[in-house]
């Protein structure tokens, strides 16, 4: 069986917001994919389409070869939605037993609790837990049915660094069972460190798709910066290798795919002041891909 989620065009009727605007994406079975984007880039909407919570206005979304709501009905998906909080007046164990009972082939409850790391407070009421504990319980809810696909919408948004790290250990051990994991996040290093593949969304479209390395390269692998000392950036964008120019705090940041050539040329025109040369980070790449002015379809790389 092959898992395919080809998310396509859709524009919200009756409003000017096109949250997901002609999105094409195929995810293979067993992949761990990060969905990156700024607020309002369409991550949550894309996820709601994938899970059949909303229907696309046009285009099609398929989940494991069927319509999303049918795949969900067949118990093939589990999810941790954004801002969801578990219901009060049940214990963790009761909640997970309940969710597991809805699925045709669930994980054994003890295993689901252990995978999510909530075994020790299985007998406590969900409304008496701390924020980090609640996140883990919500993860347990997502995986209790042992679904083919687990979708996590900003799963670590409210966690501190340590809790986040522990959380990712849990998620990776679930993914290692051959399950497909799709998660959205604001934390770039989280995407880089935990996903096989990163999909960058901007204004409802996929603007980059590939490994963390590929995405860094796509934004220009090198980063050269100089003090502008009051001068304009005119001409800088046409230097050899330069693919993008930005000004931050009186310094010009040149993204370049050939740092050597760029530096040599800067020296020749006498513009070297406080020179710094480095490698572009994923954050640099992300910022340039999703800059308010960035044109859609700028980069499209195969995974």
């Amino acid at each position: 069986m092959e898992f395919t989620a080809a998310v396509k065009t859709f524009g919200r009727a009756g409003s000017t917001v096109r949250a997901v605007d002609g999105m094409d994406l195929t995810v293979g079975r067993g992949e761990t994919v990060a969905l990156l984007g700024r607020n309002g880039a369409g991550k949550s909407t894309a996820i709601s389409l994938l899970l059949g919570l909303n229907d696309p206005d046009s285009g099609t979304v398929r989940l494991l070869g069927r319509a999303p709501d049918r795949a969900v009905r067949a118990g093939l998906a589990g999810a941790m939605l954004q801002d969801g909080r578990p219901i009060p007046r049940v214990t963790v164990g009761e909640l997970i037993r309940f969710v597991a009972a809805l699925y045709p082939r669930p994980l054994p409850v003890a295993e689901a609790l252990a995978l999510a790391g909530v075994t020790e407070y299985a007998d406590r009421r969900v409304d008496k837990l701390s924020g980090g504990q609640v996140q883990r319980v919500r993860f347990a809810v997502a995986l209790a049915g042992d679904p083919e696909l687990v979708v996590l919408d900003e799963p670590t948004a409210a966690l501190d660094v340590e809790a986040r790290r522990a959380f990712w250990v849990s998620i990776r051990s679930f993914a290692e069972r051959g399950r497909t994991v799709l998660f959205s996040t604001h934390h770039l290093e989280e995407a880089d460190g935990n996903a096989d593949r990163i999909v960058v969304l901007h204004r409802g479209r996929v603007v980059a798709d590939g490994s963390g390395e590929a995405i860094k390269r796509s934004a220009g692998g090198g980063l050269v910066s100089i003090d502008l000392a009051g001068r304009s950036t005119a001409g800088l964008e046409s230097l050899p290798g330069v693919v993008g120019v930005e000004v931050r705090g009186g310094r010009a940041l040149l993204r370049t795919d050939d740092s050597d050539a760029t530096v040599v040329e800067l020296a020749r025109i006498g513009a070297v002041r406080g020179l710094q040369v480095g490698r572009a980070t994923l954050e640099d790449a992300f910022l340039s891909l999703t800059a308010p002015t960035a044109a859609a379809d700028q980069v499209k790389e195969a995974a």
């Binding site: 919200r12 949250a19 949550s44 909407t45 709601s48 899970l51 059949g52 919570l53 909303n54 969900v72 009905r73 067949a74 118990g75 998906a77 589990g78 999810a79 939605l81 801002d83 969801g84 909080r85 578990p86 219901i87 009060p88 007046r89 049940v90 009761e94 909640l95 037993r97 309940f98 969710v99 009972a101 809805l102 699925y103 045709p104 809810v141 049915g145």
Partner: protein, 240 residues
């Protein structure tokens, strides 16, 4: 569906305030109305008002569940349910069945008060039939309350449910017999779900089976409110 019913019943039983006040309010109203007004001397009215108030209490308990559902929705729980294999019809049916747990004690409390405090005398089968009919007959109202809960905010649900409850109780003749209304209102009252519901009880104390008309009216409302609840449930999971 059964795990869902079990889960929701367990949650309800852990909320004693809800149970105590849901049962206590109509009980107090019944005792006040029948003992302060001085109308307690007519045996017919005693039994009829007992049924009317038990029906009103059942109706209130049934609809009150909507507020709980609306707050579940605000927690995102309904969306979470939507992405499990539980299909909408089962979700709504399961929730309706689990809600009836709160209806039963209300009905029992008022019938007990009628028998023990107000001295209503009925045959054993009539008591049994009353409990059963008033319990099951509350289902359409449960569905209406649930539908409102799926659709509205917790505050909104509370207000709308109270308005529905008052309207139904008054126009349906649960508080005052339909006979005192002007002709047109009496005709409307006969078609309200609350009247069909209470008629189950009134027929029982009169010693005969409920009329086909009342049953048809109630069944019609059951379908209507059931459809409304399922539709609202589907809508509730949408994010945009």
């Amino acid at each position: 569906m059964f795990p869902y019913i079990a889960l929701e019943i367990r949650r309800t039983l852990r909320d004693p305030t809800f149970l105590v006040f849901g049962t206590g309010m109509p009980l107090m109203m019944y005792l006040l109305f029948t003992n302060l007004g001085g109308s307690g001397s007519y045996d017919d009215w005693k039994a009829a008002s007992m049924v009317g108030m038990a029906a009103y209490g059942a109706l209130g308990s049934a609809m009150a569940i909507g507020t709980g559902i609306a707050s579940d929705k605000s927690l995102g729980w309904l969306q979470q349910l939507r992405i499990t294999p539980l299909d909408p019809w089962r979700a709504v049916t399961g929730r309706a069945i689990s809600s009836s747990v709160t209806v039963l004690p209300t009905v029992l409390a008022i019938l007990l008060a009628g028998g023990l405090v107000n001295g209503v005398r009925l045959a054993a089968w009539q008591w049994g039939a009353l409990v059963l009919l008033l319990w099951l007959g509350a289902l359409p109202f449960t569905l209406l309350g649930i539908g409102n809960g799926y659709r509205l905010t917790p505050q909104g649900t509370g207000v709308v449910n109270v308005a529905c409850l008052m309207g139904f109780a008054l126009v349906g003749g649960l508080w005052f017999p339909l006979g005192v209304f002007p002709g047109w209102l009496r005709a409307v009252g006969g078609f309200t779900p609350a009247h069909g519901f209470a008629d189950l009880g009134w027929s029982t104390i009169a010693g005969h089976a409920p009329g086909a008309g009342s049953l048809a009216v109630l069944a019609g409302w059951l379908l209507l409110f059931g459809g409304y609840a399922v539709m609202s449930y589907r809508r509730s999971a949408r994010t945009v």
